[in-house]
Symmetry: C2
Subunit: 464 residues, 2 copies
């Protein structure tokens, strides 16, 4: 009996031990997973760690008001507004912080004055009329400001200010204080808000500042670079004979996907960048809007690349004969426009005029012309249309990509001249050599009917 | 002299009058422009006007605390927290308001308790140690919470809560009050915050509620519908003979462009929708995630349509002979997949299983098969590849669109079964008739080499 119960006990112990081991193992992997995520978050952008430390510093500095007896006695309960201000104003980038700080400061001042006026007006209406009048004021102002917040342009830049405007107006106008008390309170609050705002702005601006303008500049450049990397690799990989290890090192081929959804972050950064003072190579009125234009053209190009990527993973074989004929032209189109985009990206990064891009664009257009000449040479008569459809579609989309690249180059050139990048050369002329662009090429096996005449521009679809 | 000066005066008068007229004219047009914008904003979504009125109502209700003497005496200075809460918690949709309200409430409670603990702990360290310890606590907590806010998933759902958490912790822990004073103040604040939150939630929930879930549901449906409208119109318009007025009524052709950048708003609405209770036809655990999947597939389809749209505006002529051959198949592909998408959209809207879609998908795939048969019939030998490249590319992209449509239909079917739409029929089987999908079609003019065998699936690129 004893032995039996001992065995039983041992069994229970082992079962529990197993359960405990499984649980602790699960918990362990979860913790390991979480720490890995934290590490990744920090490694991806070390500025996040610095920002967290800066935020802690700002908050600790402002909370000193509470510890210094004379300061605290001066501000009293209003000291909390300094803490509140730091928490809502301190943002990741200088532009965002400045924008919020200015919004908060201006809105507080204007709404405070307006609220004071409303309070005075209502007090004239007697004891019974006062709450009715004040209620009406609050209702009207809240309604109108809330509606105004729906305007997309106002929402993007002044949303926070409008919120603070409503808040301050309500607090000042309906407070039960006498006018002289309001003035005293207003003085305290404005001082503490100023302390909070200036601490935030000071630390954000002078301790490892993060510039939204820099981020926008780098984001746009890296997006152009991603498309360049794709195109540079695509042509060679797609027209490889399938025996060659296609899966070798094309993980970078998916990088461009982030470009597809970059609109919102670009617009957000551009809004922040407008608040920023001149810094580094960026002057006061840096043409931030032009970055949005480049970003939009980059996305246009990415939309062309998305179907191309689909064909890249397709298993269908291009007939060897057809491939060998168009391979060189297509590979060159892809390679050269990829190189052009990469050059453009590094020109943006270095803030130099993209003069070294012209040869690549010319070569990519040459390649497109070569493809057209090849197709009209008549060899197409021997091939089977059905089999070459994917290859033809790829070639056609590549021609699109070439014209997209040209448009991106034009817009970056515009940026270079607007932002006074050094040594801007008139590249636009060089980009459009008449021979390549305006010559009409007669169709390969047709008669010279005027409506049959084809150019690169016609072959590629119109971009908006 | 007098006459001269009179003429001069008249001249000055007329000049000033002209300047005044020009200025007032400019001002007038600006005002007219502005009122037109306001009207448009209200007409586009009348719920905006209602929301503004609701917001005014909530704020006026909460400000009653100030007018009722007994209430105001009870809360004192803390009454302002009710107003502050309404201003930051009241949002457009129920989900957003509930999310913010819950975030605020929970964060305040937890951070209040933690702050109280920190305050007590620090007070044990003596007069000199207290501020140092408290400063350390604030620095550490602010740093850690700020870093945690960078996690994308936490930022999407709990960002506001984390902000309030920091704020409350700081205010409670470093306040110079004694413990019993803190408890009294905490009681007042929690009550006023509860009043503000519950007023906001009550009005948002019961006065013309705006549901984020409804908005997401309608957005996804209308996006699918926009693609449908484009495809329905595209085939017919593209293969029209150019004499026929191409520009007639194709303004709807650009509607799909809003789909390209819909990712962020869909994700935002899905996050809000998760906070919402069951309402209308939406149960408690409605599969909101599935909408994001449908949205992502819809964007994939839109990326295919974007290059198609480019070809639509192209001026190049398709050779009449080639057009007449492929016109029917291509038009049918486009028309039927467009119809299928529109049916799918109306099925989502009506929350019924999309059973009427199957015939359209079968027809669109039939058309794709017809195109393949046509191309292998050998007529392609007589045409000039260069001239037909745009048409071939269009056909190829249309085949892509057909397979995209099928994928969208599958995901909407999944939604229908997950969300228990009424009478879900097993459509997936019907969608993939073996004859259409798995039959391998020998190439048109080649030998039966195994690697030359082509199917629709192979012809269209792989979608992720």
């Amino acid at each position: 009996m004893e032995m039996e119960s001992e065995i039983k006990n041992e069994g229970v112990f082992y079962r529990n031990w197993g359960w405990f081991k499984a649980l602790s193992g699960k918990l362990g992997t979860k913790i390991v997973d979480f720490t890995r995520k934290i590490k990744k978050l920090g490694r991806d952008d070390p500025r996040r760690i610095i920002h967290s430390l800066k935020f802690g510093l700002a908050l600790t500095l402002v909370s000193l008001i509470y510890y210094f007896e004379p300061l605290y006695k001066g501000f009293g309960n209003s000291a909390m507004w300094a803490i509140l201000t730091v928490i809502v104003v301190f943002e990741f980038s200088v532009g965002a912080t400045l924008g919020r700080g200015l919004n908060r400061g201006l809105a507080t001042l204007v709404a405070g004055a307006l609220g004071f006026g409303a309070h005075y007006l209502a007090s004239l209406a007697g004891e019974k009329g006062e709450p009715i009048l004040l209620g009406l004021f609050v209702f009207l102002l809240a309604g109108v400001v809330t509606f105004v917040r729906f305007f997309p342009r106002l929402k993007a830049r002044y949303d926070y200010g409008l919120l603070i405007f409503m808040l301050t107006f309500c607090l000042v106008s309906i407070s039960g204080y006498r006018e002289d008390e309001i003035l005293e309170m207003a003085h305290q609050r404005v001082s503490t808000i100023l302390i909070g705002s200036s601490t935030s702005v000071f630390i954000c601006l002078f301790v490892f500042p993060v510039w939204a303008g820099d981020d926008l500049h780098n984001l746009v450049a890296s997006n152009v670079e991603k498309l360049g990397s794709f195109l540079e690799g695509f042509g060679v990989e797609y027209f490889k004979i399938s025996g060659d290890s296609k899966e070798s090192n094309n993980t970078f081929m998916d990088d461009y996907k982030s470009v597809l959804n970059s609109k919102q972050s670009e617009e957000c950064l551009a809004n922040f960048a407008r608040w920023e003072p001149c810094h580094g190579q960026f002057r006061f009125r840096h043409p931030w809007k032009q970055y949005l234009k480049i970003g939009s053209l980059t996305r246009q190009c990415a939309y062309r690349i998305e179907p191309l990527n689909g064909y890249f993973n397709s298993e269908i074989q291009i007939p060897a004969e057809f491939r060998s004929k168009i391979q060189e032209a297509c590979t060159n189109m892809s390679l050269e426009s990829g190189k052009a985009l990469k050059e453009l990206a590094s020109a943006i990064k270095a803030m130099t005029p993209p003069s070294s891009v012209t040869p690549h664009i010319v070569k990519s257009k040459d390649a497109a012309n070569n493809l057209i000449s090849l197709l009209r040479s008549g060899f197409c008569k021997e091939i089977d249309l059905l089999e070459v459809i994917p290859a033809v579609t790829v070639a056609s989309l590549l021609v699109d990509a070439v014209s997209c690249t040209e448009k991106i180059a034009e817009s970056i050139n515009e940026l270079a001249s607007l932002a006074h990048f050094q040594n801007v050369e008139p590249m636009v002329e060089a980009e459009k050599p008449k021979l390549l662009h305006q010559e009409t090429i007669p169709p390969c096996c047709g008669v010279n009917e005027p409506h049959h005449v084809i150019t690169i521009d016609q072959l590629s679809p119109k971009l908006p």
